[in-house]
C-alpha cells in the first residue's frame, strides 16, 4: 500500500479478484453508521425514496421550464433550411447570399454555468425527438485545435462517435480513419442519407421492388460489409454514384442496379453497430471467403437493425443520437410513418445538421473562426444550423468574431429563462410540495438561498445543497425513519419497536406536547404503546396538513405584500417562506411595517389583491377547513367591497375647510402642529371603506397568527423538518483560507492544548508549533524577508534562554526545525524564493494576524 516513491506519482490498486464481493452490498448503507442501528435501514430507504421523488419532479421541471424558448428554437431550426430554399427558388441572386449565411441561434443562457449542461441536454433530446438526428455538441474543452473540433463535429454528425466508445472488443477496423474524417466524407455521407430518405419515400409506393433490388446486388453489399474501410477510402467513388441517383431518383428506382450504391452504405454502418453488440457476423475474412453466408447474416442484420438498435438504445438507458440516426437509416419506412417531416414537401428531407456550441465565449477564437468559415463553405451541400450557447450577451459573439466571419452567420437571439425563474419552480414544486415527506427548515433554506443569490445563481448547486440537507436529515436524525411518504406511514408506525418508540418519546417537541396534555393522557402516552402510536400517527398527519396550509398562507402573504412599496417582506415567495419558516410572521418587524402600509391602501389596489388571494385559497379549500373558512369570509368581504358606495363624500368637505383655515396661519410651527392635528382627526373618523379594509386585514392577520407559526412550534417537527444549517454550511461553503490562517495564527483553536493559549492573536508563545511561530514572525515583515534574521528571530522565540545572535554556530536541531517550517510555508504559498537579494524570500500574502 506504499504510496511513497521518488519515481512515481500515481499508484493504482486494483481490487483483488479473491475478495470480490457482491456489488449489490456496496451501497451507501454500509457507511450510514451515524444513526442508530435499528433505524438505519428504514432511514436509508426513506432517503432513497425521497430523493427519487425529488429527482423525478426535477426531471419533469427541467424540460418544462424552458419549454417556451425551446419551442421557438425548434421552430427556428426546422424552418431555417426552408427559408433558404424558398429564397433560392424565388430569386437566384438572393439565393447565393442566403446559402452562405448559416442560420445561427444564439441562446443566451445566463451566467449560471453549472446549469447549462442540463439545458443543452434537454435541448438535444428535444431536437433528436422530432427535428433531426444529426446533432453535434461541441464543448470548448474538446476543441483546442481546429482538427479536434472538426473531428468531434463530424464524428458526432455521422454518428460514429458512440460506436468507438462502445467497442470494448476488437473493432473491425476503425470505421473511418481519423485522417479521413473531413468535410468531403461528411458531404457524401449526408447525400446518401438524404438519398435514402427520398428514395425510400418513393419506394414506399413501390416497396417490393426496392427490397428486391437490395437482394439482387449481393456482391456489392458484401464488399461494403466486409471492407468498410475500402468503401470509405474511396469517397469519390461513393460520391459519384449517389450523384447519379440524385440526378434522377425515378430512374434509380426503375433500375435497381444503381440504387444499391446508397443502401449499401446505409447497411455498412448499422452492420458495425450490430457486430459490435451481437457478434452475430463472422470476422471479415470469413465473410470474404464465403460471401453468401456473410450476405445472409448481413441481410439479417439489415432486416432487424431497427429492432436491435432499438433494444440497444433501451439498454443504454439514454437513447444516443447516433443510434437514432441508425434506426432512421435502418428502417426508413418506420421513420416515415413516425416523423411528421415526411408529410411535408421534399425539401424537408434535408434534415438540418445542428451544431451546438455550448460555451462560445470560451472557445479559442481562431478555431471558432475557421470552423464557421469551413462550414459556410460547405453550406450549399450541408444544411448547417448553429446553436451558440452564450452566457453573457449576444454582443460578445460579434465582438469576438471578425467581420468576414460574422458575415457568414445569420444570428437570431433566444433568451433562456433566468435561473431565478427555474428556482421559483423548484421551490414551488419541491420545497413546498406535499408529496415529498421531507421538508427543509428556515435556516438551511435561507442558507441555500444565500448561496444561490450571492455565489453562483445556479439551480444545480441549489439542488446539490438540498440533497445534502436531505442526507444530513436522514443520516443524523434517528427519528427520520418515520419520514416516509404519507401512504406508508401507517405501516411504519405500526411496525415500530419499543426502542424506536423511545426515540420519538425523547424528541423535545413531543415531550412538550405531552406536557401540554392532561395528566391522564400523559401517562397513557408515555406508557401505553398503542396510544402513543396512534398519537404519533395523528400528529404526523396533522403536521402534513399544517404544512399544506402553511404553504398556502405563505402564498397569501406574498400576494398581499409583494406589491407594497419597498416590499418589506420581499418580492418573491421564497423570501416570505424564509421569514415564515423561522419566525412568527405577525411578530416580525417586517410584517409590522407591511401592515402599516396595508392599512393605508386604496381600494383600487386592495381589490385585485383580495381577488388574487381568494384565487389562491380556492385551490386549497378542500384540504383544510381553516382555509375554507377564511376563503368564505374573504369572498363575503370582497362582495361588500365591490358594492361599497361612496358614503363619506360629505365628511371630506369639512376637513378641507379646516385645512384652508390652518393654511392662513403664519407661523410655521403652528402650521405643522395643525396639520398633525388634522391628520389625527382624519384618522379618527374612518369611512366605510376604511373600516372594511381593517376588517379584511384583521381577518387575514388573525389567520396568519393562528396558522403561520414557525416550524419548531409544531409537535414532531423533528421528524419531517431539517433545521440546522451549520453542518450543511460547513460542507457547502468551504473556507480553506480561513481554516489555514486560523490554524497558523491560533493553533489552539484546533489543538486545544493548555500551553498555546494566546491572549491576542498576534502574540507569540514558545510552545506554538514551529510553522506557526515562523508564520507569525513573517507577518511582521514587508514584501521581502531576510532568512538569517528570520532564523535568529525564530531561535529567540523557541529557545528564549539562548542568545545566539552573535555566535556563528547554532543548534542544528533548531536550524532543521526552522528549515522545515520555512519549506512548509513555501509549500502553503506564503513565501517563495526570490533572487532579488541573497538569502531572502518574498512574501506572497498581505495582512493577516
Amino acid at each position: 500500500m506504499a504510496t511513497v516513491s521518488v519515481s512515481k506519482g500515481v499508484f493504482s490498486f486494483k481490487r483483488s479478484k479473491a475478495n470480490k464481493r457482491k456489488e449489490a452490498a456496496s451501497t451507501t448503507l454500509d457507511y450510514w453508521t451515524e444513526c442508530d442501528e435499528d433505524t438505519r435501514d428504514r432511514s436509508y430507504k426513506n432517503y432513497v425514496k425521497c430523493w427519487q421523488m425529488v429527482t423525478n419532479i426535477l426531471h419533469d421541471l427541467q424540460s418544462s421550464v424552458h419549454a417556451k424558448v425551446f419551442e421557438d428554437l425548434v421552430h427556428f431550426i426546422k424552418n431555417a433550411r426552408k427559408n433558404c430554399s424558398i429564397k433560392a427558388s424565388e430569386n437566384h441572386i438572393e439565393s447565393m447570399q442566403g446559402q452562405n449565411d448559416i442560420p445561427t441561434a444564439c441562446l443566451v443562457t445566463g451566467v449560471n454555468m453549472p446549469d447549462h449542461e442540463a439545458i443543452f441536454e434537454s435541448l438535444v433530446r428535444l431536437l433528436a425527438d422530432g427535428v433531426t438526428p444529426h446533432i453535434a455538441q461541441l464543448h470548448s474543452r474538446d476543441c483546442n485545435t481546429l482538427r479536434s473540433a472538426m473531428h468531434k463535429m463530424i464524428t458526432q454528425l455521422m454518428g460514429q462517435n458512440d460506436l468507438v466508445d462502445l467497442d470494448d472488443e476488437v473493432m473491425i477496423g476503425p470505421s473511418i480513419k481519423r485522417r479521413q474524417i473531413n468535410m468531403t466524407v461528411l458531404t457524401s455521407w449526408y447525400k446518401e442519407c438524404t438519398d435514402v430518405l427520398t428514395q425510400e419515400k418513393n419506394s414506399s409506393k413501390l416497396r417490393g421492388s426496392t427490397q428486391k433490388a437490395t437482394i439482387l446486388c449481393n456482391d456489392e453489399t458484401c464488399k461494403a460489409v466486409t471492407s468498410p474501410r475500402k468503401a470509405v477510402a474511396s469517397p469519390r467513388k461513393a460520391v459519384a454514384s449517389p450523384h447519379k441517383a440524385v440526378a434522377s431518383p425515378r430512374k434509380a428506382v426503375a433500375s435497381p442496379r444503381k440504387t444499391v450504391a446508397s443502401p449499401r452504405k446505409a447497411v455498412a454502418s448499422p452492420h458495425k453497430a450490430v457486430t459490435s453488440q451481437f457478434k452475430a457476423v463472422a470476422s471479415p475474412l470469413k465473410a470474404m471467403a464465403s460471401p453468401h453466408k456473410a450476405m445472409s447474416s448481413s441481410l439479417m442484420a439489415i432486416a432487424s437493425p431497427h429492432k436491435t438498435v432499438g433494444s440497444s438504445c433501451k439498454e443504454m438507458g439514454s437513447p444516443s443520437i447516433a443510434m437514432k440516426s441508425f434506426s432512421n437509416n435502418g428502417s426508413p419506412q418506420k421513420k416515415i410513418k413516425l416523423s411528421k417531416e415526411t408529410s411535408l414537401p421534399t425539401e424537408d428531407d434535408h434534415q438540418p445538421l445542428v451544431v451546438i456550441l455550448e460555451d462560445v465565449e470560451s472557445f479559442p477564437m481562431n478555431v471558432l473562426h475557421d470552423l464557421i468559415l469551413i462550414c459556410s463553405e460547405h453550406h450549399c451541400d450541408l444544411p448547417f444550423v448553429f446553436v451558440f450557447g452564450v452566457a453573457t450577451t449576444p454582443a460578445a459573439v460579434h465582438r469576438s468574431l471578425s467581420q468576414n466571419v460574422s458575415a457568414c452567420i445569420a444570428m437570431e437571439t433566444f433568451q433562456a429563462e433566468p435561473s431565478t425563474h427555474f428556482l421559483n419552480h423548484v421551490i414551488e414544486k419541491v420545497v413546498m410540495s406535499d408529496e415529498v415527506p421531507f421538508h427543509i427548515g428556515g435556516r438551511p433554506f435561507k442558507l441555500l438561498l444565500d448561496i444561490f443569490l450571492y455565489n453562483d445563481l445556479s439551480v444545480k448547486n441549489f439542488i446539490k445543497g438540498l440533497k445534502l440537507c436531505m442526507m444530513q436529515h436522514f443520516m443524523n436524525n434517528s427519528s427520520a425513519f418515520l419520514c416516509c411518504p404519507a401512504p406508508e406511514r401507517a405501516s411504519v408506525v405500526r411496525a415500530m419497536t419499543p426502542a424506536q418508540l423511545d426515540i420519538i418519546r425523547k424528541l423535545p417537541s413531543f415531550r412538550s406536547y405531552v406536557e401540554s396534555c392532561p395528566p391522564k393522557e400523559q401517562a397513557a402516552l408515555l406508557l401505553e404503546e398503542k396510544v402513543c402510536k396512534a398519537t404519533i400517527r395523528r400528529l404526523l398527519n396533522k403536521l402534513d396538513c399544517w404544512y399544506d396550509c402553511f404553504c398556502c398562507l405563505v402564498k397569501v402573504v406574498h400576494a398581499l405584500t409583494s406589491s407594497l412599496p419597498q416590499a418589506p417582506l420581499g418580492r418573491q415567495v421564497r423570501e416570505v417562506l424564509t421569514t415564515c419558516l423561522s419566525h412568527e410572521l405577525v411578530e416580525t418587524e417586517e410584517f409590522k411595517e407591511a401592515d402599516k402600509m396595508l392599512r393605508l391602501m386604496a381600494r383600487e389596489e386592495l381589490l385585485p389583491i383580495v381577488t388574487n388571494i381568494i384565487g389562491i385559497l380556492i385551490e386549497w379549500v378542500e384540504k383544510d377547513e381553516n382555509l375554507l373558512h377564511l376563503h368564505d369570509e374573504l369572498s363575503l368581504m370582497l362582495g361588500r367591497l365591490n358594492s361599497l358606495d361612496q358614503l363619506d363624500q360629505v365628511n371630506d368637505n369639512s376637513i378641507t375647510e379646516e385645512m384652508q383655515i390652518s393654511i392662513q396661519s403664519s407661523d410655521r410651527f403652528h402650521l405643522k402642529e395643525k396639520l398633525l392635528e388634522i391628520a389625527k382627526k382624519k384618522y379618527k373618523k374612518p369611512n366605510a371603506y376604511e373600516s372594511l379594509r381593517s376588517e379584511v386585514l384583521q381577518l387575514l392577520i388573525n389567520a396568519f397568527e393562528q396558522l403561520l407559526k414557525p416550524v419548531n412550534k409544531q409537535p414532531l417537527h423533528e421528524v419531517l423538518f431539517f433545521d440546522s444549517s451549520s453542518m450543511v454550511k460547513r460542507h457547502l461553503v468551504g473556507m480553506p483560507r480561513a481554516a489555514l490562517t486560523t490554524a497558523l495564527s491560533n493553533p489552539h483553536h484546533y489543538l486545544q492544548c493548555e500551553c498555546c493559549q494566546l491572549e491576542d492573536l498576534s502574540s507569540v508563545v514558545p510552545t506554538l508549533p514551529d510553522v506557526s511561530v515562523a508564520y507569525k514572525l513573517h507577518l511582521e515583515c514587508g514584501r521581502l524577508i531576510n532568512l538569517y534574521d528570520w532564523l535568529q528571530a525564530f531561535i529567540s522565540v523557541t529557545e528564549p534562554e539562548e542568545d545566539t545572535s552573535s555566535k556563528r554556530t547554532i543548534d542544528q536541531k533548531l536550524q532543521a526545525r526552522f528549515a522545515q517550517a520555512v519549506s512548509e510555508l513555501q509549500f502553503l504559498g506564503f513565501v517563495k524564493p526570490t533572487r532579488r537579494k541573497t538569502d531572502h524570500v518574498a512574501r506572497l500574502t498581505w495582512g493577516g494576524c
Binding site: S148, D168, A567, R571, K596, G734, R783, F827
Partner: protein, 610 residues
C-alpha cells in the same frame, strides 16, 4: 528630544461613559428595521441621529414618499449577521519596519526568558539599531507627532502619516475592546488581570520605546474618536464576539477535547492589499546572509535525520485531532457514494489521514492514489493508470480527450464497478493547470468515479471556477491535522537545504538494474577502485586510460570507443562525473559518499550470491 517627548505627552483613554453612550446609540439604531438603503438616503435621519440619538420618531408618511427601493436581501445565513465577523483573521497589519520581526521575537524573549538571566533592554538594542535612528524612518515623521497642537488631540481628524507598529496598534485595540467589553460582560475579572499584566509588561520597556509608543498611542486616540467615533468600538466588540473568544476556550481547557472544533469564520479585506502594496518604497531588510552561520545550509539527509530525532510538539493533541477526523470516515464514504467529491482542507499534511481512510474503506474497491505534489506527475500518467491498470485496456489513445471519453464510456455503464481516485494535493504544481483541472473535473463528473482530494495551498480555491466546481460536485471538509508536511516538502527545493547533486542510493540501484552486464562491470570496477582509495584525500579519480586498461583486462570492452559510449551513458544518468586533471587527463569519479558506495557494493554482492 526623547525626554521632551516624555514630558509632553501622556496617555489618555476615551471616557468609559462616552463609549457607552456611543455603543448604545449605535446599537439602538441598528435595532430599528429601517433598511440600509434608506438610511443612507434619508438626510433627515442622519442629522437626527448625530444630534440627539434615536429619540425622534419620524412619521411613517415621510418615509413613504421616498423613491421605492427594495430592502436588500441580506445573506445573513451565509455570512453571518455582522459583515465584520471574523475580520481578525484577515485584519490589517504589515508594518514595513526593519526590525519588526526581531523586536517581536525580542519581546517574546523578554516575556518567556528565564528570570535567572535578566537582560537589560539596552543590550538588545545594541544589536539592532533602534527604530527611530534608521535612515528609512526620517525623524520628521516623529516630529509631526510632536508638533501636533494639543487642542487637536480629541477631535481633529488630522491624518498623520506616521506608521504605527503593528503590535502596538494591537494593544490599543485590545484596550478599546476591554472598555467596550466591560459593559457587556460583568465577569471579566480575569481579563482585567491579563490586561494589568500587559500594562506592566510594556511600561517596563525603556524610555525611548515608551516615548515612541506614547506618540503612536496618542495618534491612535486622536484617530479613533475623531474620525470614526461610532464604528470603531462597535467593530471591536463584534470582532470579539465573532472570533473564537477567550471565554469558551478557557472553559474548555479542563475538559480537554470535549467538544468539536468550532467553525472558522472569514471575511476578506481587500483594501489591505492597497495599504500594504500602495507605497512603492523600497523594501527594508537587513543585509545579513546565512553565510554568517557556520553551516549555512543543512544537507537533506542531515535535515531528515535531525528532524526525525526532534520530538514533535503536541503529539497527543494531534492524535486526538486525527482521531476526530477519523470519525468522519463513514460520512466521507457516504458522500462519495452519493456522487459527491470530497475536498479536505486545513493546515497539516493530510496524507496520513487519507491513507488511513484508504486502508480502512477502499481495500474493497478499485482505487488510484495520486501524489499531486510529485514534481514530474503528468495527466497522462493518471489517465494511463486508469486505462491500463484498472480497466486493463491495451490500446493507445490519440489524445487526452479520447482517453477521457473512453474512461467515461467505461464508467457510465450501469454495470461498472466504482473507481475511487485519491488525490493528495489537488493543487499540486503539476495539477494546477487549466487542462489537468478540467480533465480531473471531467473525471469527477463520471457516475462511478469518486474523487477524494486534499488541498493545501492558500490560493488553491482560485483554480476552481464555477462550472468546474459543479463538475466536481464537491463537499468541503475541514481536516486540519497540523501534522508536518514532511513528504510533501521533500520534493521542494527549499532555500535552507543544501542542493547537492548527489544521487540517492535508491535511484542509483534503479539505474544500475537497467544496465547491461558489461556496463554493470564497468561501473562496479570504478566503484571498487574509488572505495579502495577512500582514505586517500588526494584522490582525484580514475583516469580514462587506466580505466580502459582495466576494462580490457576483464573483457568488458573491446575498444575505447565502446568505453566512451558507455561512460556517456553513465554521465547522462549522473552516475559518474569527469574532471580534467592538471595534466589534462580526464578523471572519473562517482559523486557519492564512500559509505553509500560501500552499501551499494555490498548490496550488489549479496544480490550476486542469492
Amino acid at each position: 528630544m526623547e525626554t521632551r517627548a516624555k514630558s509632553k505627552f501622556s496617555v489618555t483613554f476615551v471616557d468609559d461613559n462616552l463609549v457607552e453612550k456611543i455603543t448604545n446609540g449605535t446599537n439602538g439604531h441598528t435595532g430599528t428595521p429601517i433598511p440600509l438603503s434608506q438610511r443612507g438616503s434619508g438626510r433627515l435621519t442622519m442629522g437626527s441621529r448625530t444630534s440627539a440619538g434615536d429619540t425622534i420618531e419620524l412619521p411613517p408618511l415621510q418615509e413613504m414618499d421616498e423613491e421605492v427601493v427594495d430592502i436588500f436581501y441580506k445573506p445573513t445565513e451565509l455570512l453571518g449577521e455582522s459583515p465584520l465577523k471574523g475580520s481578525s483573521v484577515f485584519g490589517f497589519c504589515t508594518p514595513k519596519k526593519k526590525w519588526g520581526m526581531l523586536e517581536k521575537a525580542e519581546s517574546v524573549k523578554k516575556k518567556y526568558g528565564s528570570p535567572s538571566t535578566p537582560k537589560t533592554p539596552k543590550s538588545s538594542l545594541k544589536q539592532y539599531p533602534s527604530t527611530p535612528t534608521t535612515p528609512k524612518r526620517p525623524s520628521t515623521d516623529s516630529k509631526s507627532g510632536f508638533t501636533t497642537p494639543r487642542s487637536t488631540r480629541r477631535l481633529s481628524g488630522v491624518v498623520q502619516e506616521v506608521r504605527t507598529p503593528y503590535s502596538f496598534r494591537k494593544k490599543v485595540k485590545q484596550r478599546i475592546n476591554k472598555i467596550v467589553f466591560k459593559e457587556d460582560s460583568s465577569s471579566s475579572d480575569e481579563e482585567d488581570d491579563d490586561d494589568d499584566d500587559d500594562d506592566s509588561s510594556y511600561s517596563l520597556s525603556e524610555p525611548e520605546d515608551e516615548s515612541k509608543e506614547n506618540i503612536d498611542f496618542q495618534e491612535e486616540c486622536i484617530k479613533t474618536p475623531g474620525k470614526t467615533p461610532k464604528r470603531t468600538p462597535l467593530k471591536h466588540s463584534k470582532i470579539l464576539s465573532g472570533t473564537p473568544g477567550k471565554k469558551p476556550t478557557r472553559v474548555l481547557e479542563k475538559g480537554g477535547r470535549g467538544r468539536k472544533i468550532k467553525d472558522v469564520e472569514m471575511v476578506g479585506k481587500a483594501d489591505d492589499y492597497f495599504t500594504s502594496n500602495g507605497d512603492t518604497g523600497k523594501v527594508v531588510t537587513s543585509d545579513h546572509t546565512l553565510s554568517r552561520l557556520e553551516t549555512p545550509r543543512l544537507s537533506p539527509e542531515a535535515l531528515q535525520s535531525i528532524l526525525s530525532s526532534v520530538a514533535t510538539s503536541h503529539q497527543r493533541e494531534r492524535e486526538a485531532l486525527l482521531e476526530e477526523h477519523m470519525h468522519m470516515f463513514p460520512r466521507w464514504m457516504t458522500f462519495l457514494c452519493e456522487g459527491f467529491s470530497v475536498f479536505l482542507y486545513g493546515l497539516g499534511s493530510k496524507k496520513q489521514l487519507i491513507s488511513k481512510f484508504q486502508q480502512e474503506y477502499l481495500a474493497q474497491f478499485d482505487h488510484i492514489v495520486v501524489n499531486g505534489f510529485f514534481p514530474s506527475l503528468t495527466l497522462k500518467n493518471l489517465l494511463n493508470n486508469i486505462t491500463e491498470d484498472i480497466i486493463d485496456h491495451t490500446g493507445s489513445f490519440h489524445s487526452i480527450q479520447e482517453q477521457l471519453e473512453f474512461i467515461q464510456g467505461f464508467y457510465t455503464k450501469s454495470s461498472a464497478e466504482s473507481l475511487f481516485i485519491i488525490i493528495h494535493n489537488l493543487d499540486g504544481p503539476m495539477l494546477r493547470g487549466e487542462k489537468s483541472q478540467s480533465a480531473i473535473a471531467h473525471l469527477a463528473s463520471i457516475p462511478h468515479v469518486h474523487i477524494l482530494a486534499s488541498i493545501d495551498h492558500i490560493n488553491a480555491p482560485l483554480i476552481f471556477d464555477s462550472s468546474r466546481m459543479s463538475h466536481y460536485n464537491a463537499l468541503w471538509c475541514d481536516a486540519t491535522t497540523l501534522a508536518p508536511y514532511s513528504e510533501e516538502t521533500s520534493f521542494e527545493n527549499s532555500l535552507l537545504v543544501q542542493q547537492s547533486g548527489s544521487l540517492a542510493l535508491s535511484s542509483l540501484i534503479h539505474v544500475f538494474r537497467s544496465l547491461t552486464p558489461n556496463a554493470k562491470g564497468i561501473f562496479l570496477l570504478l566503484a571498487q577502485h574509488q572505495l579502495d582509495q577512500k582514505d586517500n584525500s588526494n584522490y582525484i579519480g580514475l583516469s580514462f586510460n587506466d580505466m580502459y586498461q582495466r576494462c580490457r583486462e576483464l573483457f568488458l570492452v573491446n575498444s575505447d570507443l565502446t568505453l566512451r559510449a558507455q561512460l556517456t551513458e553513465f554521465r547522462d544518468h549522473k552516475l559518474i562525473r569527469s574532471k580534467k586533471g592538471l595534466d589534462g587527463i580526464e578523471n572519473l569519479v562517482i559523486p557519492l559518499d564512500s559509505n553509500i558506495l560501500h552499501d551499494f557494493i555490498n548490496q550488489q554482492e549479496s544480490d550476486k550470491l542469492s
